[in-house]
Amino acid sequence: MTPPDGNGAGGLVGKGVARPNVKRLIHGRGRYTDDISVPHMLHIAFVRSPYGHARINGIDTSMAAEAPGVVRIVTAAEVAEICEPMVAIAAHRPGHKSAPQHAMAVDHACYQGEPVAAVVAASRAEAEDAADLVIVEYEELPAVMDILEALDPASPPIHPDLGDNRCFEHTTVTGDAPVALSNAAFTVEQDFEFGRHTAVTLEGRAILAHWDTVEERLTVHHSHQSPYQMQDVFSRHLGIPEHRVRVITPDIGGGFGLKINVHGEELAVAAIAKMLGKPVKFTADRLESFAADCQTRDHIATAKMGVDGDGRITSMDFENALSVGAYTAYIRFGLAEGMMAITCAAAPYALTDYHARTRVAYVNKGIVGMFRGVGVPVGCAVTEVLVDQAAAKAEIDPVEFRRKNYHRDEDYPLTSVGGYAAKYMSLHRCLDACVDIMDYDGLRAEQAAQRENNVWRGVGVATFVEAAAFGPVYYGPSGARVSTQDGCTVKLEPSGVVRVMTSVTDQGQGTLTGIAQIVGDQLGIGMDDIDVIAGDSATTPYGGGAWASRGMAMGGEAALQAGKALKGNILDLAASVLQTTADALTLEEGEIRDAATGEARMDLAELAKVGYFRQDTLPGGTQPELMVTRHHVPDTPYYVANGVQGAHVEVDIETGFIKLLGWWVADDCGRVVNPLMVDEQIRGGVIQGIGNTLYEHSQYDETGQLLNATLADYLLPMAGEMPDIKIAHVETPLTNTELGANGIGESGTIGAIAALWCAVNDALRPLGAQVTKQPFTPEHVLEVIAAGK
C-alpha cells in the first residue's frame, strides 16, 4: 500500500491522501438512496414480463388493486400518456436503427424482466404481494437469441418497424489487409466469444422521486452517476421545465458504468410520482438487477494477424459481432461496445494494414449498456491473444515480440490502424516496468521447471489502452445530450475555509478527494480546510458526472483552473487591502505573504472578513469576487492512457480449474493526483476483469429465459481466490491540460481480461490447446484440452 502522506498544506497532488468522505461509510453512516425516507412515501414493485418475447393482450389489475396496502396500480399505457419514449439514435452514424423504448412495455415485451406495470403500496412487501396478483395476458412470440441468427435479415424482427434485427454495422479499412495477409510470411487466426455479463453493483439501482403539487417541482434522489443527465431526461420526457427538476445523487453503492444508463423503471418512477403527487421509492432487488439492469459484452469475433519474415506484424483482420439486447441503451445508442472494440484493437502495434467490421444485433435479452471498459477489453484481448500466437509461431519470446512491434517512441503523435489518435503511449516503458516487477525471467524458468512435474503454469503479459474523457468531437455530432465538459466552483467562506462544488461525481473512486487536493495546492491550504460538494443538479456546475474515466482528467482540470482563478481574485483583493500589487503577494499555507520576504501579511480569514463584511474599508468601487467557476472541454476526441499487465496462473488440466498465482500492473494514467486512489482503482478494476473472464456469465436459454439470476449461481470474485496485485507507475503527464492527469477508472479491467486470456493460453499452448470462450469455465478448459490432444 501507499501510506497516507498527511493532510498538511502544500504539495497535496501526488500524495496518497485518505478520503475525507470515506469515514462515514466505514462507520455505517453512509446515506444511500434506499436509506432515505420522507413523509407519506410510497413504494413501488414492478410487474415484469416472464417471457423473453411476448405480445401483451391485456392487463387485469382488479384483484391486485384490492390487496392490503395498495394505493394504485399503474399500467405501462398510463405512464406512456405522460412520458415520452426513449429513442437512442446516433445522428453521426447513418444506418443506425433504434426502436422507441417506453418506460414500461405497453403492448410488446422484448426481454424477460421488462417492466409491464407498477404497483404502488404502503410498503415494498405489500407492493410485491400485489404485483403477484396483477394478471397479464401474454401471447408468447418466437425469441431471437443468437447473434448471427439475429443478423440474418430473414430472422423475425423484434421491432417490426425496423424491418429486421440489424441495429448497426461499421467497417474500418486502413491499407489493404487482404493483400497484406496473403503476402504475410505466416498468419495466426482464432475465433472468440465474450459472454454476456452484468455489472452487479452491490447496491441495486434505487430512486426516490417526489412531485411537489403546489410548486410543480420534481425532486429525485437517484443512485446514478450523472444527476445532470437525469435532470435533462426527466425534464424532457415528462415535460417539466428543467429548473423545476432537481436530481440529487447521494452515496452510491457502486456504479461501474451501469448507473450512467437510463433504465425504464427510473422514468416510470418519476412519472408515477408526478401522477400521484406523492413521494415514491423503488429499489431493485438482486433478481431484478440480474434481469433488468443493463448488461454488457456478448461479442463473437474471428480475427487474423499477418506477420512478415522478420517477425513484424503487418496486418490484421477483425470480424466482430455483438448483441445489444432488445433496445439500444438510452441516452447513448448501443454502438460503443462494437466501435470501441474495433477501434482500439491493434492500437499499440505499428502494423499498416487493417480491416475490421462490427455488426450489432437486436436479440430478446436484457439491454447492453455502458460498463467499465466498454468494448475495449474485447479489442485488447483479441489483439493480445493473436500477438502471443504470432510470437509463438515466430519462436520469439512474447515480451520481445511486443517490444519489436510496438510503435516507436519517436513516431508520435500517431493514429493507429483502427483510428486511435494518440499523442503518446508509454508502451516500452510500461512493458519494461511490468516485466521488472513480475520477475518475468524468473517466472519463465519456474514455468519450465514445473512442467517437468506435470504442473501447467502460464505467464501472460498484455498491453492495454484506455480512451478516457471522451470529448465533444465524439459525442457532439451524435445528437445525444451527453455533456462532454465538466465544471468546478470554488468559494472562499468567511472563516477562510473553502467550499468546492464540482460536476464530477464519486461512487468510491476518490475523485472528490483528488479535486480537494488540486484546489488545495492552488490556494495553499490543507485538506482540513476544504469541503467538496457534488451530486446535486440544482447547485453544482453542469457537467457529465462520472463516465469514461473523466473525473481527474476533466473535473480535475476544471478544479485546477477554478482554484487558480480564485487565487488571482484573492491576491487582487489582498493587494487592495494591503495597498500593494497582486504580483507582490503569494498565497501559502492559508496566508497571504509578501512574495519577496515571505512575511505573513494577512490570513485567508482576515481577507474573507474584509471581502464579506468590511467592504467599507476598501477603495470605492472594489468588487470582491471570492467565488469562481471554471469549466474544461477536452480538445481531442479522448485522452489515451496505456499500460501493461502481467498474470501468472496455474491450470489444473485434470479439473479445468484455473488458479491465480500473481498479478502485476504497470500503468500510465498521466499525472497521478493521488497514488492511493489510483492503485485502488487499478486493483478493483483488475479483480472485475478477472471476474468477467473466469466466472461471470448471464445465461439465457433459447426462449429468452434468464437461467442464473441469483448470487448463488452467477459467480463473482471473492476474497479467497483473488491474488495480491503489485503496481508500478509510469507517469507521463498529459500535455492537453495543465494538470496532466489522464483516466484510470477502466484500465484495470481492460488489461486484466487480456492478460488472463494470454496467461491461460500460455499454460495450454504446449498441449495444442487455446481457450476461445469467456468465461473460462472448467468445462471449456477441459474441452479445449481434449480437442488439443
Binding site: M1, P3, P4, A18, R19, V22, K23, R24, L25, I26, H27, G28, R29, G30, R31, Y32, D35, M63, E66, P68, G69, S123, A125, E126, D129, D132, L133, V200, T201, L202, E203, G204, D251, I252, G253, G254, G255, F256, D285, R286, Q507, G508, G510, L676, M677, E680, R683, G684, V686, I687, Q688, T710, L711, A712, L716, M718, A719, G720, M722, I725
Partner: protein, 163 residues
C-alpha cells in the same frame, strides 16, 4: 388467491445496548427490521439470499447474515449493528486502517466487512493472508479487489499482537 397478510408479533430485544420493544410483521427479516423499524440504515441488503454478506450484523456475539434471520427470531437476543459497533470503539483501530488504505470504495459492503473482520480480529493472533482471505470470503466487495481490506485486517492484528 388471497394476498399475504401482514401477521405481526411483538418482540423484545437489545439493539446496540438499548432495549427495544416493537410489533413487527412476522415475515420481516432482521435487516429490514433494523432499517425500516429502527432506522439503522448502516446494515445493507444486496442479495437477501445469504451470499454477499452486506447485511452482516452481530447477534448474541456472533456475526450472522441479517437477511437470513427473521426479526421474530431475534426476540430476546442482543443485536449489534455497525452503528453500535462503531460507537463502542471496539474496532476503531480496524476502521482507521480501512480509512488509511482506502479499503472501502463505494462503502456498501463495508459495514458487513467490518463486522466480519471484527470477529477475526477479536480471535487474536496474526493469521497469514490466506487465512484472512478465507475468513472474508463470504463477503462480496465489487470495488476494492479485497487486497486493501486484507491489508487493513492484517495490520490491525499485527499491531494488536505487538508484532
Amino acid at each position: 388467491m388471497p394476498a399475504m397478510s401482514e401477521d405481526t408479533a411483538e418482540i423484545n430485544l437489545i439493539v446496540n445496548g438499548e432495549p427495544v420493544t416493537k410489533t413487527v410483521p412476522v415475515r420481516r427479516h432482521l435487516v429490514d427490521f433494523l432499517r425500516l423499524d429502527l432506522e439503522l440504515t448502516g446494515s445493507h441488503l444486496a442479495c437477501e439470499h445469504g451470499v454477499c454478506g452486506a447485511c452482516t450484523v452481530r447477534v448474541d456475539g456472533v456475526a450472522v447474515r441479517g437477511c437470513l434471520m427473521l426479526a421474530v427470531q431475534a426476540d430476546g437476543a442482543e443485536v449489534v449493528t455497525i452503528e453500535g459497533l462503531s460507537d463502542s470503539g471496539e474496532v476503531a483501530d480496524l476502521q482507521a486502517e480501512f480509512e488509511a488504505r482506502n479499503a472501502a470504495q463505494c462503502g456498501y459492503c463495508t459495514p458487513g466487512m467490518v463486522i466480519t473482520s471484527a470477529e477475526l480480529v477479536a480471535a487474536g493472533g496474526v493469521p497469514d493472508r490466506d487465512a484472512i482471505r478465507d475468513h472474508l470470503s463470504g463477503n462480496l466487495c465489487r470495488c476494492t479487489g479485497y487486497q486493501a481490506i486484507v491489508d487493513a485486517v492484517e495490520e490491525t492484528m499485527k499491531k494488536r499482537a505487538g508484532a
